[in-house]
């Protein structure tokens, strides 16, 4: 198992490099222009000067090598320096990945935004799994019962109604009419006492609920299908005929096995937490990583788009490996030796 993991990690390196090249090529070849969104009153000569100052007109290869150097050498060195408090020689001349729009290091902005994205998207994901698994299992166990019918209906609604609609509905109901929850998320809020914790939970309520609805819908359908499959297997009949209690049959035998694919699904979706929730972040002004990526794409901010999408890509590759390894651990039939 250890050998397998190491082999997978090593083969991931060329994959990641190829991905970085493809992302860079796609972003660079797109016709977006970092000066494209500037007001019409700015003359073309000034635009040209801005592009030159940013290095936007450099040849493709130069820009790519620069980015590689900044991302794989300068950024890690800088990270070591700031965490350990030491200074390497040449520290002042080192150029980090700099955003064209904000003129600040991209990594710092990501770090600044990660907390709100993790709070909102992460907790909705966590809640979603907590609700989805029991609902899915029970729906499968009592297939075609009232609970299953109602659950299926609710989940179909959660799955098919887009978040921008539920988000607006929530704002109209809970902010405008009832005035229970704020519609503007305060990212500067620091939780220090009970009162600020309440405020944090209050402002998280609407975005988290909207996202949880969606995650729960998806996850519980999956759990239900997987549990249904297992409940019809021969070993369940064997377990019952042995005289085991219904509780043991379902919880020990059926659910355990049914959750193997669900765990894989959960692992594969974890990178999505870091990617944020584009629309929900926008509606509630959570201003996390998703919103940052959107602004960067609109503004033709190549270093930012490249860095953020590349980090997603790395996370996807890593969690794919994690999912495969987990599979091996959970399912004794799967061996990697």
């Amino acid at each position: 198992m250890g050998k397998y993991t190491i082999r997978r990690l090593l083969t991931a390196i060329p994959t990641i490099l190829v991905i970085s090249f493809i992302i860079f090529a796609v972003v660079d070849l797109s016709p977006s222009d970092p000066t494209g969104n500037l007001p019409l009153t700015i003359p073309p000569e000034v635009r040209q000067k801005i592009r030159e100052a940013l290095g936007a007109d450099d040849p493709f290869a130069v820009k790519y090598v620069k980015w590689l150097q900044q991302f794989f050498i300068a950024e890690p060195l800088n990270f070591i320096e700031t965490t350990l408090g030491i200074t390497f020689p040449g520290s002042e001349d080192r150029v980090r990945v700099i955003s064209w729009a904000t003129r600040g290091p991209v990594i710092d902005i990501i770090a600044e935004r990660l907390p709100q994205t993790l709070w909102v998207v992460g907790s909705s994901y966590f809640l979603g799994v907590l609700i989805a698994v029991p609902v899915g299992v029970y729906s499968a166990y009592r297939q075609y019962s009232i609970f299953d019918q109602v659950g299926t209906f609710a989940m179909m609604v959660g799955f098919s109604v887009p978040t921008f609609f539920t988000g607006l509905m929530f704002i109209v109901i809970f902010s405008v009419n009832l005035k229970w929850f704020p519609s503007v998320y305060d990212t500067t809020l620091v939780v220090t006492d009970i009162e600020s914790l309440q405020q944090q939970l209050r402002q998280m309520f609407m975005p988290v609920t909207v996202l949880t609805l969606y995650t729960t819908a998806q996850m519980s359908r999956y759990t239900r299908a997987s549990t249904l499959d297992n409940l019809q297997q021969d070993y369940i009949r064997t377990a019952r005929s042995k005289g085991l209690t219904e509780r043991t049959v379902v919880m020990r035998h059926a659910v355990r096995n049914s959750l193997i694919p669900v765990v894989t699904l959960i692992a594969l979706q974890i990178p999505g937490i870091f990617a944020g929730a584009l629309i929900t972040e926008q509606i509630f002004r959570v201003n996390g990583i998703g919103q940052y990526l959107i602004i960067a794409i609109q503004g033709g901010d190549l270093p930012t788009v490249q860095t953020v999408t590349f980090i997603f890509a790395v996370l996807v590759v890593i969690f794919n490996i994690v999912a495969d390894v987990l599979y091996g651990i959970l399912d004794p039939r799967v061996t990697y030796s």
Binding site: I98, G104, I283
Partner: protein
């Protein structure tokens, strides 16, 4: 596991009901911009958001008031030729700073800071976005600590480009010295400039939120009335309007370009007030003065000095006049723009002294338009509902950027034109492509490969000289200048060029105004462009905030120091 879920939900519910309603601290002013500021350096600004975020902190030497009139800000008086501040030959202007103005860190504001601000922008490697404000500046000299002279390399009848208005405020030399030139690319100081204004930055989060505290060294006692200001970005215009007008979570929301019906319904809730400021933005139709026929190949839409590649019919007076007259501008302005637009027949509708009084009426009168075409002999001879001019049917292609209001405008105009026998083919193009500079794309506004196109533009300040020189003949877009230029309609008029030359040596405001009016009349009376709607900027403030004075000529937050809470 289920127990835990129940517990969590209960906790959430408990927390949310425990303290109902959002506590409004009486001493914080909450400003909502649905586009978030990336940094606070106006010289590197990407758009209004950066300039406005900086306007609470940084100040120029003089500002414009809501009527477009200059008011001294960090100086005691505006330099003019009459008071000796502007040289007789119009090549230099000398500003004298007011006594006793300090930065928020307590150090004095000096002429060296002013000089540095200009040098910062004019450094070739800075990539300054407001460089055109410093057009023709040869040098800036700090004569002494309080006096700064700006020298121009030509006679500059309107020398108020640099350091007047929110685009070019004064930044502190001591703070930004290390950021000039190429170093501006990664200038960390841009996230917290030190300023002379009513507020100072305490926390900056890129593209998200800026927190300010009142500047203890602000020159006016008792101002600002607020202890804190919060400048929150992100979201969309509609929810920003809702946060001010319906939920009262914010005190001020910027740029609320949303459906007039929705906005007025929100305002009816009685929590806030919608405010509008008009500058010079005009939504206009541009009539192609060259032939955009694809069959011409390389010569498509290419202007020829001998006038040989002109448009087959759009320059015929009866045709464009009838097309202009068929349009009901009141309907477009009222139904689609609401408070944010009024019908106009001028291409330069403001400031008031520059607005031409000579074009009071330009439609709608469909019958008169039809009569005009009949009289000119432009008839529908084959009975297909489309008139022909010299055998060419009046079929036009009409492009604009993708935007709900613009597509509705297109649909209305297409209908009106069909009533006068002009057939219209509509196109809309993504804004990033339409306004982009991609030389390979046939769909840019500057190539203008259709008969008619529509967008908004306006003068960037109160003085219209730069704006009006956009129709000079040397500004005609052409393959030779990579389609770069402002004369997108490719209109050629020697008399107009002569008026511009005259304006370049005229310093007296009234004379400049009369020249601008003549130019405006020439443009709209010869069919270079058809103005449609005079567009204002729409914002809203909560009714508990007093003293908001909407300003379209300067920062909307220009007088934030005077805002109070009732």
């Amino acid at each position: 596991m289920k127990k835990f879920t129940v517990l969590l939900i209960a906790l959430l519910a408990l927390a949310s009901f425990a303290g109902i309603g959002v506590a409004q601290e009486g001493d914080t002013v909450n400003i909502l911009f649905w586009q978030a500021a990336s940094h606070m350096n106006p010289y590197l600004g990407n758009g209004t958001k950066e300039f406005e975020a900086a306007a609470l902190v940084l100040e120029p030497l003089a500002r414009y008031d809501p009527d477009g009139i200059m008011v001294p800000w960090l100086v005691d008086e505006i330099p003019t030729v009459a008071n000796g501040g502007v040289s007789e030959d119009l090549t230099s202007i000398t500003w004298t700073l007011s006594e006793g103005i300090t930065w928020s860190d307590g150090s004095p504001l000096t002429a060296h800071d002013v000089k540095f601000s200009g040098d910062f922008c004019m450094h070739p490697d800075t990539g300054c976005t407001v460089l055109d404000q410093f057009a023709n500046v040869a040098s800036i000299d700090a004569v002494d600590d309080m006096t700064v002279t700006i020298n121009f390399d030509v006679a500059k009848p309107f020398p108020y480009g640099p350091f007047v208005g929110y685009l070019t405020p004064i930044i502190q030399k001591a703070q930004f010295e290390g950021c000039i030139g190429a170093a501006a690319l990664e200038c960390q100081e841009s996230f917290g400039p030190i300023g002379t204004g009513p507020f100072m930055v305490t926390d900056f989060r890129t593209n998200d939120v800026i927190t300010y505290a009142a500047n203890p060294n602000y020159r006016v006692m008792g101002q600002p009335a607020f202890d804190r200001a919060v400048f929150k970005g992100g979201g969309d215009a509609e929810s920003a309007a809702r946060a001010v007008l319906e939920t009262g979570e914010a005190d001020y929301a910027w740029n609320l370009q949303i459906s007039p019906a929705v906005l007025s319904a929100m305002e009816a809730a009685g929590q806030g007030t919608v405010i509008v400021g008009f500058a010079t933005s005009v939504e206009r139709l541009l009539l192609n003065h060259t032939n955009p026929d694809p069959a011409l190949g390389e010569n498509r839409s290419v202007w020829m000095a001998d006038g040989s590649n002109g448009h087959p019919f759009l320059q015929v007076d009866a045709v464009w006049q009838a097309m202009s007259m068929a349009i009901d501008r009141e309907v477009i302005a009222g139904q689609l723009y609401g408070a944010g637009g009024v019908a106009t027949c001028n291409i330069l509708p403001g400031p008031p002294i520059y607005a031409s009084p000579n074009n009071p009426f330009c439609g709608p009168d469909i019958d008169a338009a039809n009569a005009m075409l009949d009289e000119a002999g432009i008839m529908d001879s084959d009975g297909d509902g489309v008139r022909e001019y010299m055998g060419i049917p009046l079929r036009v292609s009409y492009q604009t950027s993708t935007n709900a209001v613009r597509q509705n405008t297109q649909a209305l105009i297409k209908q009106w034109w069909s009533e006068i026998g002009v057939e219209t083919e509509l196109r809309n193009i993504d804004a990033a492509v339409f306004f982009g500079g991609d030389i390979a794309s046939p769909d840019t506004y500057s190539k203008f490969f259709t008969d008619i196109e529509m967008y908004t533009n306006g003068s960037s300040g109160t003085d219209p000289e730069t704006y009006m020189s956009g129709w000079r003949s040397d500004q005609i877009t052409h393959p030779d200048n990579s389609w770069n230029g402002n004369n997108v309609v490719r209109w050629y008029n020697e008399d107009y060029d002569a008026l511009l030359d005259q304006m370049a040596v005229t310093a007296v405001l009234e004379d400049r105004a009369s020249l601008a009016i003549q130019m405006n009349d020439m443009l709209v009376q010869t069919g270079a462009i058809i103005p449609l709607v005079y567009r204002g900027s729409v914002s809203a403030h909560h009714n508990s905030v007093n003293g908001v004075a909407m300003n379209a000529w300067d920062s909307e937050l220009w007088n934030v120091a005077e805002w109070t809470r009732s």
